[in-house]
């Protein structure tokens, strides 16, 4: 391109207490471009974003060119101008769009010193219209808006202070909490926004999205830029290879082949007694679910939000009360109606909850302390906790699961998403002597860590534990499950054996289409893409 890049940074390095997090990273964004930033968890993506937005300061030597002119890296916010919309959007949901945008831009005052609400309303509406959002009522609280609408309000707020000059907008995982259809809608709006001359840096774990949306992609691995490639000429597989490195990918693919054969073998082989059996679990969303899982079997529960698959996970873990819930685990019978986690834990059922931050890990405690929280009694000496043993065990887990940095005493807050998920696994598998219940095990986890987690689940199942995976993400279920129950509106609508498993079949079943797999060939998948 002949025109100088809107923003171009080079030689960006960052050292955290002696450890190099970024090394000579370069990135350039042109006006009108959607530039994807991809890489595994812990590859330095968030560090780079934090440097661009001025939260961290880069090591000396970094340079920035804005429209061809040199500038210092920490004035990008004002010079470019650069804005970021983070994953959690930072909106106040109890307030409406006018307020939320007003907090970004300031409010127009009336002659008497109050807020000129009418002007403010007009401004908000025109701002949103420019972004292609016409059907949102700016006076309704955002809690009533859809996730896409909220994201667009956040984007509107970010760009609202831009005058005629267009800058760079960073979108950090904007679709992580969106169902596929809404993600598509958001992608369209983002493309439209780019066309107006905005440079967009798009960070996402969903590679399928990146290939559909971005013009170019910069791939980061272990703190360095592997390559910047035009997306049109590279496939998802190419990107994965860049992200992981050839050797690791080959290794993981090999693992996958082996484990698929395992899955087939165990699916075909003789079954042991059911390890976990439930009859008629009824709760808020669940309308009577019965199932059986054998030891060593991996069973998935697929469902859209509200179908009850998460409630089932919580119920099995004793985390939430249900109306009816009698299950047998091994040779014990349990009643889940009280909603006491300890009941399930003592019976050997471990729940890996979906929300890592609020339900899973305590971010201000160390990795070792988090890992030993449920299993602390195993570490008890005569009076006190055996701390050396605790650390050694944590250290062992960190080696096994490749959790970096390898510091059992590091606080959870310092770890990346994928590593946190691994810590969460380590925390719970020690307690899963009979059944391991995983809820949304790969939310916000990148490809590399995801494959490791799949691999780990399969390995774990071979030890004879019943594994239950409740996930909205069909990829999870296709990757590891021997059998999948499809849930719709609190009912099991279909039980799908391994050899009939495919994205179409599962999607059709959880969308409430009771038609057999052969008949639905195209309808649901079209909606999705």
């Amino acid at each position: 391109m002949s025109e100088p890049a809107l923003l171009s940074v080079t030689n960006v390095s960052k050292t955290f207490s002696g450890q190099l997090a970024l090394k000579d990273v370069h990135l350039d964004v042109h006006a009108g471009e959607v530039h994807a930033l991809v890489g595994q968890n812990g590859c330095g993506k968030s560090t780079l974003l934090k440097i661009l937005t001025g939260y961290h300061r880069a090591d000396p030597g970094a340079r920035a060119l804005v429209r061809g002119r040199p500038h210092s890296l920490h004035e990008l916010l004002t010079v470019v101008p650069l804005r970021a919309v983070h994953q959690d959007l930072g909106l106040i949901l109890e307030l409406n769009a006018i307020d939320n945008i007003g907090f970004g831009t300031g409010f127009q005052r009336s002659r008497h010193g109050g807020i000129a609400w009418r002007t403010q309303l007009r401004r908000t509406v025109s701002l949103l219209e420019q972004l292609g959002v016409n059907d949102i009522d700016p006076r309704r609280p955002l809690s009533a808006a859809t996730q896409v609408e909220r994201t667009m309000v956040a984007i509107a707020r970010a760009v609202s202070t831009w005058d005629a000059r267009r800058g760079v907008l960073i979108l950090d995982e904007p679709t992580s909490s969106l169902p596929d259809r809404e993600a598509g809608e958001l992608a369209r709006l983002i493309r439209d926004l780019a066309k107006t001359g905005v440079g967009i840096i798009y960070v996402s774990h969903a590679l399928s999205e990146v290939t559909g949306l971005a013009d170019r992609a910069t791939v980061l691995r272990e703190g360095t830029v592997v390559d910047t490639v035009p997306v049109a000429s590279s496939s998802e597989h190419d990107l994965v290879e860049l992200m992981l490195g050839k050797e690791k990918l080959a290794h993981l693919e090999q693992l996958e082949v082996q484990d698929n054969s395992y899955a087939h073998r165990s699916a075909a082989g003789p079954r042991s007694e059911p390890m976990l059996a439930a009859s008629n679990i009824v709760g808020k969303e669940l309308r009577g679910i019965s199932f059986q899982v054998s030891g060593g079997e991996i069973v998935g529960f697929a469902g859209l939000a509200g179908s009850g698959h998460l409630e089932l996970a919580y119920a099995l873990g004793g985390a939430r009360r249900v109306v009816e819930g009698a299950i047998t685990v091994g040779d014990r019978s349990l009643d889940l109606t009280a909603g006491r986690p300890i009941t399930s834990i003592t019976a050997g059922i471990a729940l890996v909850p979906p929300d890592r931050t609020r339900e899973g890990l305590i971010s201000t405690l160390s990795v070792a302390a988090n890992m030993s929280l449920p299993s602390i009694m195993q570490l008890r000496g005569r009076l006190f906790v055996r701390r050396r043993q605790e650390r050694e065990r944590a250290s062992q887990w960190m080696t096994d699961l490749e959790i970096v940095p390898h510091k059992p005493e590091a606080k959870i807050a310092t770890l990346s998403g994928g590593n946190r998920q691994k810590v969460l696994f380590a925390k719970w598998v020690t307690m899963a002597t009979h059944a391991l219940v995983l809820a949304e095990p790969t939310v916000g986890v990148d490809v590399g860590a995801r494959l490791q987690i799949y691999d780990f689940i399969r390995q774990y199942a071979t030890s004879g534990v019943a594994v239950v995976i409740c996930s909205t993400d069909i990829t999870d279920l296709l990757a590891v499950c021997d059998r999948v129950y499809a849930l719709y509106a609190g009912h099991v609508v279909r039980e799908i054996p391994r050899d009939e498993l495919s994205e179409h079949v599962v999607l059709a079943a959880i969308s409430g289409l009771a038609t057999p797999a052969t008949a639905i060939g195209d309808s649901p998948s079209e909606e999705q893409t």
């Binding site: 000396p60 340079r63 500038h71 986690p341 201000t364 929280l373 906790v385 250290s395 598998v429 030890s463």
Partner: protein, 361 residues
Amino acid sequence: MTSTAKSDRPPVQTSPPTFHTPWRTRLSVERIGTVYLWVIGVAVFSAWRPHIFPNYLTVVGVLNSVSIPGLLALAVIVPLAAGVFDLSVGYTLGLANVLTASLLADGHSVLAAIVITLAVSLIVGVVNGFVVVVMRIDSFIGTLATGSLILALILQVSGNQEITANVTKIQAFAGRNLHLITLPVFVFFAVAIVLWLVLDYSVTGRRIYATGLGREQARLAGIKTGKLQFSSFLVSAFIAGCAGCLLTGIVGAGSPTAGPPYLIPAFAAAFLGATQLKDGLFNSIGTVMATLLLGTLNVGLALATSALWAPDVFNGIVLIAALGLRVTQTSAVSLNPLARLRAARTVLRHPKPPERVDATP
């Protein structure tokens, strides 16, 4: 339970990595700042009042004066570690104070008076636990409200008068000493050691901290968070009760206004203590360090000046400073001047000097 789950784990590493905290970190200002402040304070007062400050009597004076506020500070760290406030401890202390005195005045023995008082203190703890855990009222408001009820009880028991009849027996009991260091001081250190062992080393301690730092996470880990919080109120009320009994012995009276003023210094010491050693966690040894610092400086101030307002101003400032430090510790960017200096030094030492880029076109 089967243990097949662990069968496929590889054998333990041959050389497990070692875990040592470097001495520089251990002795850092962030970790043990109170010690450095204490040394500075002692030096200043020794220079200011060389004839009356640096001697054994001052040491005894400091120790004897910190026993009651120290016990109360230890009382509040238990609920704080479990994630709840107990703002009623000052009143509980006051209630125990007037109750022992009035029981003694009624002719009960010292032992009976103490046992009954401690039992009543535990009932206060039960009420707090009920209000906060069972009724799910925010602990800050809930214990403020129960504190008001306890105050009513104090006034009822004491008739809003000092009770001084028959207190000599308990005065003799609390006045027992070893080289002038009285019994309450030993009680204070004993309680501190017990809390240190429980909070830092026991399973219960782990569960208390987990409850305080992440209640839902702790609950899902099978921890009975409600029971722990309930128990923490029992512990705080019990320790406050002990302190109240000892206070009767020290002062030789049951006074309706004695207890509440101890509340602020207790929280000051607890929050300052939390900035020490354990990186923002409420802990026993840190609280003891903070208490000794505050006690030393208060005694020093009393010896050096006659200003009545000095100790209160001082306690208020310490509480604000401690909370400020806590905020700094938990934020990503360090506001600590020394940490900033270190960061600046690292940058200056960097081989590549930062390149100056002119921003103006």
